[in-house]
Symmetry: none
Subunit: 210 residues, 4 copies
């Protein structure tokens, strides 16, 4: 997913940027400190990335790739389990959604700064996001729609909307937790449980075959 074959320096820059991003946040990611952390000059970064935007975009892209792996890995677990015993589809759909939602939630909380740069940046910034990366990012969200069945009164176009709703609901909880906006009297664990249960309930209401 990450463009390979590039130079070592490019990877080193991304890696260090990631580290700074995670440790100090998006605001502290500036070119010269980054360069000196990598061990090259600030000018060198521009050999590999057109500008800071491009660097961040690459970082987001990378994050989206990681999230995709994380989510598909979770679904693979579900598939294996389903394959092993002959679990019926109803349980299967709910369980798949539970695994997917849990994976999404946990990725966000485990990589808050990644999550921030991936999903909480100002829209102005995303306007410049390359279409090709955008497409890669969208795959993650489509996983949610794919867990929902189109049968029983659910129109095909509704499936996407419903998927988006499930995702947006999870995103609400994750982003508020990351931003420290949730009342401290409410344990993150409890909110996680409720948010995931809700995602599951949507999937359960609309069982899916595969």
């Amino acid at each position: 997913m990450t463009r390979s074959g590039g130079s070592d320096i490019r990877s080193a820059i991304l890696q260090e940027a990631r580290k700074v991003l995670v440790e100090q946040g998006y605001r502290s990611l500036s070119m010269r400190p980054l360069a000196s952390a990598v061990g090259c000059t600030a000018t060198s970064i521009y050999l590999y990335f057109k500008n800071k935007d491009a660097l961040i975009h690459a970082l987001i892209d990378e994050g989206m790739g990681m999230l995709h792996q994380h989510l598909t890995a979770a679904l693979a677990v579900a598939d294996n389990a389903a394959g092993a015993n002959g679990t019926d589809n109803f349980v299967d759909a709910a369980e798949r959604m539970r695994l997917l939602a849990s994976a999404y939630f946990d990725f966000g909380l485990a990589n808050p700064e990644y999550y921030e740069v991936m999903f909480m940046l100002h829209p102005k910034f995303m306007e410049r996001y390359p279409a090709e990366m955008f497409r890669r990012a969208r795959r993650n969200l489509e996983l949610f729609a794919r867990q929902l069945h189109e049968g029983e009164g659910m129109l095909p176009e509704d499936r996407h909307a419903q998927g988006a709703q499930v995702w947006s609901s999870l995103h609400g909880a994750v982003s508020l937790l990351i931003a420290n906006r949730v009342d401290i009297r409410i344990p993150a664990e409890k909110l996680r449980e409720l948010a995931i249960d809700q995602a599951v309930s949507v999937a359960a209401a609309h069982p899916q075959s595969n």
Copy 2:
């Protein structure tokens, strides 16, 4: 240019700050451009706000006040309607939540500039958020918990968590719509409907007497 009256410079500053904030993001909100947009000097801003933090905090506080009015007004409508006809409690609780959720959703989309600064700013800011303002902000979120009944297997402490979950779910949809992060093939109206329905379904599962 010449502003008359008490301290509408303060308001003008807030208003302009809000505008810049939603159009360009927080990083672009800087004192001198803000000042010149308002029509005063950068120094003057410091007559009305101790520093940039205080300015942002005032903006949040103002927004929280407006939201509170908006939400309580919506609930008042529900109360009146319930008083008129003798609707039973079940319908009542669901309907109240529908009104509350709708009001919240619509406030967000109608005042994206406020919403962004209120709920989508970097956590770093909230660390310095004054306790007194924090209390005012919390009132809004408690309205959600208050619509949920503590009966039938719902523990009192769960009520707060469940309220937070309903809120966070709505927040997810609102914030993603504001940030233009939702797939353009999904109409905002549809996502709104789904998000509100879900909030209602939580309330309906836990009917409340008042």
Copy 3:
């Protein structure tokens, strides 16, 4: 010595300025914090002092007055002691210089920030010092010359020079101690002793009748 009959506020300003000066140093003496410490507006200060320069000048003048009192009081002690028993002049002159030098030294170390503003400010600043105040300041230094005898090969004009040298020598020690420029292995007390001894030795070499 300090202009009296003025308003209470003028005194309050000077008093507070002095306090800030002593506690935080010359650099931290700025008009608005000063005003708010006094309990008036920054504008009000300008009713009593033409500008910041004038305020500082008044402070210096005040300090010079204090120093003068301090020094003459020390000499008065010497006079009384000399009047009581019939001490001869030689001892008298040396003892008077010891008291004078000690008093000068101690004033400096006891009021370092005063001393700084009185004697260690940039010359540029003193260019604007009013002549009338300058004359008052000079009286302090003349006290040193006055302890030196004009006899025995000392020309009258040399007396002033010698007085200035004694003073400058003391000033060297005081100012370096204040500025923390003296090696920490050398106790201030020891340097004081040596500096005062030296001043005394100059006076002893040139006995004076009164």
Copy 4:
């Protein structure tokens, strides 16, 4: 305008800073005017100095180096003279101190800009003065102690104190002359003579073998 060669911009900055410092005082030494006097941008200064402190410290360090050369050169002259004829130690010690004191005095008056920044800056700066530079600075002052003999009632630890006293006495005269604080009726030459004589008399009272 276009400067060639290695890093004479660094020197140009130091030189200009020195000039501003003596003409206008520390408070007037600000980065942008300094830069434009040098002929570069304010940002460029930060390529050569970490910050304003480091710039000042470099200035002090440079001055201390110059002073050290000046003083040791003067002592070398004394050594040569002593080697030529078989002057006895008493005269030698006194003469050495006279040369040292004269050299110190003349350095101060010849390089007021250096002297001011070296010895007359606010103590706040010295707090941040790097230890390594501090050691270099101390060598200058130790030269004074080294001219004083540890015999005849002078304890070894007193030698340092006595050296400091000689230095502080000279410093008093130099700094007051530089700061224009000495009564204009007293010729600088006269004060110089008296101050140096006094330094010599201390050394003469405590003859030294080497």
